[in-house]
């Protein structure tokens, strides 16, 4: 039997990571809010079935970049995006792209859980209904159940699907929002500090969920918690003052980063 040395295993894993195809490609992405430039020619590619963490101090542009990935910046007045972002082969800023359809392919979960003021069932069924993904009662029941199961919430809510989603605890509400995002079968899920309003137990459940979702979805997560980035992601990108400073394997990033600014930031030192 051929036993690989530890170094060889590591190298093989690295190479494996390097062969993971790109799901989204960001090329020279710049974002302006009116006169103010928030992102400077960012080149960052998102690998398929990988959790990519975006880190950096407040105002560094990580959330701005995340929002360019499903054109959430369109909703902000005066916001202008230049450069090119593709999802598979499609240029998502092409004028012929249907933004509603794009956001079904690239779903989003926000910092504060924001369930609709509707029942748990309707929260999850909402997306499939407006996108016409389910027709009969049985189809809706099915998508609601599988989505809640994927979000690890089914067992906790299956007996009270008609109760309002807003009546759940914070952590459950966030997992309900993840179920809602998952229900339209997106390809990519964007998460903007999904755990910052949750306690450590609820955070751990969401992190476990992110880990599981990775096999079916591509995930991009913005987080202020270094340890969360280290725990859940395989790739980490560090932003600073609107620039992408470093993108690396998470293991490398947290043991021996290449850039001094990354080093100072993750170690909590004065840069």
């Amino acid at each position: 039997m051929n036993i690989m040395s530890e170094a060889a295993v590591e190298k093989a894993l690295d190479q494996k990571m390097n062969t993971v195809p790109y799901k989204m490609i960001g090329k020279d992405v710049s974002v302006y809010y009116g006169e103010k430039r928030a992102l400077f020619d960012v080149n960052l590619n998102i690998r398929e079935n990988t959790v990519t963490a975006l880190i950096g101090p407040s105002g560094c542009g990580k959330s701005t970049f995340l929002r360019t990935l499903n054109r959430m910046n369109d909703t902000i007045e005066n916001c202008r995006v230049t450069g090119k972002i593709t999802l598979d082969e499609d240029d998502i800023y092409d004028p012929t792209i249907d933004v509603v359809e794009l956001r079904a392919r690239v779903g989003m979960v926000f910092q504060k859980p924001n369930p609709f003021p509707k029942s748990i069932y309707d929260n999850v069924a909402y997306g499939p209904r407006i996108h016409g993904l389910a027709r009969t009662k049985a189809e809706f029941d099915d998508v609601v159940e599988t989505s809640l199961q994927k979000a690890g919430l089914w067992n906790e809510v299956k007996d009270r699907l008609q109760e309002p989603g807003t009546g759940l605890s914070g952590g459950q509400q966030q997992r309900l929002c993840i179920a809602r995002a998952v229900a339209v079968s997106p390809e990519v899920i964007l998460m903007d500090e999904p755990c910052s309003a949750l306690d450590p137990i609820a955070t751990a459940k969401v992190e476990e969920l992110i880990h599981e979702l990775r096999s079916n979805f591509t995930i991009v997560i913005v987080t202020h918690s270094m340890q969360q980035a280290a725990r859940v992601s395989q790739r980490t990108a560090m932003f600073h003052l609107g620039n992408l400073v470093e993108e690396n394997d998470t293991d490398k990033m947290f043991t021996n980063p290449d850039d001094q600014r990354t080093q100072d930031y993750i170690m909590g030192r004065f840069g």
């Binding site: 043991t255 170690m267 004065f270």
Partner: protein, 236 residues
């Protein structure tokens, strides 16, 4: 390196550095004294070395505890994490150096009065001097964190190995000459082996410092010139 935003974190790291340097000083002293005790048949000095070992044991425990608490509280990453893991490793190497010094001191009693040939004692002293220089330099490198200097120390372990091998041959000769030499020479052989291993620990520390400074392992095999493990074996 720049300071942490939380100054208490810097204090914790400084504590580890300070304690390691202290341990280094004590270990160095113990090794020097143990060889002096051996050469001069100084039982009182040997006894002092034996009791000093407890200080190193305690220091290693305290460094380990502080490191664990710091890891739990601060969740260190990158250079900070390497710094703390390095402290644990170096403390354990220095504790072993102390043990080896203590072991030499214990043998003073067995060897004393057996009239060790002056030439052998000289050889042992020379070996110890080299190991002590190695130890002293590696502790200086610990203070400076220079990966280049760490690498050069690592390459010098070869010299100690070579002298150890020649001392080994000499001791064998004495034993063959007169069976009454066997007991003291066997003890001296262990002493020589102990000193040679002190050199190895200094080399370990150099490698740890290299890793702490760069995040990478030093390249290439460690130079070796200790051939005693096959010496005297029947050749085909």
């Amino acid at each position: 390196m720049s300071m942490h935003i939380m100054s208490a974190y810097d204090e914790e790291l400084k504590y580890l550095t300070r304690r390691i340097s202290e341990m280094g000083g004590i270990a160095e002293q113990m090794v020097g004294e143990s060889v002096r005790a051996l050469v001069n048949s100084d039982l009182a000095l040997a006894q002092k070395v034996i009791s000093d070992d407890a200080i190193l044991d305690e220091a290693e425990r305290q460094i380990g505890e502080k490191a664990i608490i710091t890891i739990a509280k601060r969740q260190p990453v990158a250079a900070d994490l390497r710094e703390i893991m390095g402290s644990i490793r170096i403390a354990s190497d220095l504790e072993r150096v102390g043990d080896l010094g203590k072991n030499n001191a214990k043998r003073v009693i067995a060897v004393a009065g057996s009239g060790i040939p002056r030439k052998l004692a000289r050889g042992l002293e020379h070996l110890a001097e080299l190991a002590l220089v190695q130890l002293k330099e590696v502790l200086d490198v610990y203070a400076s964190r220079s990966p280049e200097k760490a690498n050069s120390i690592r390459e010098r372990d070869e010299e100690i190995d070579a002298i150890y091998t020649s001392l080994f041959r000499e001791l064998l000769t004495y034993m063959m000459e007169d069976p009454r030499n066997i007991t003291p020479c066997t003890h001296l052989l262990f002493c020589a082996k102990n000193i040679e291993r002190i050199g190895d620990h200094a080399t370990n520390i150099a490698e740890t410092i290299y890793y702490m400074a760069t995040g990478a392992q030093p390249e290439g095999e460690r130079p070796k010139d200790d051939n005693t493990s096959t010496l005297g074996a029947v050749k085909d």
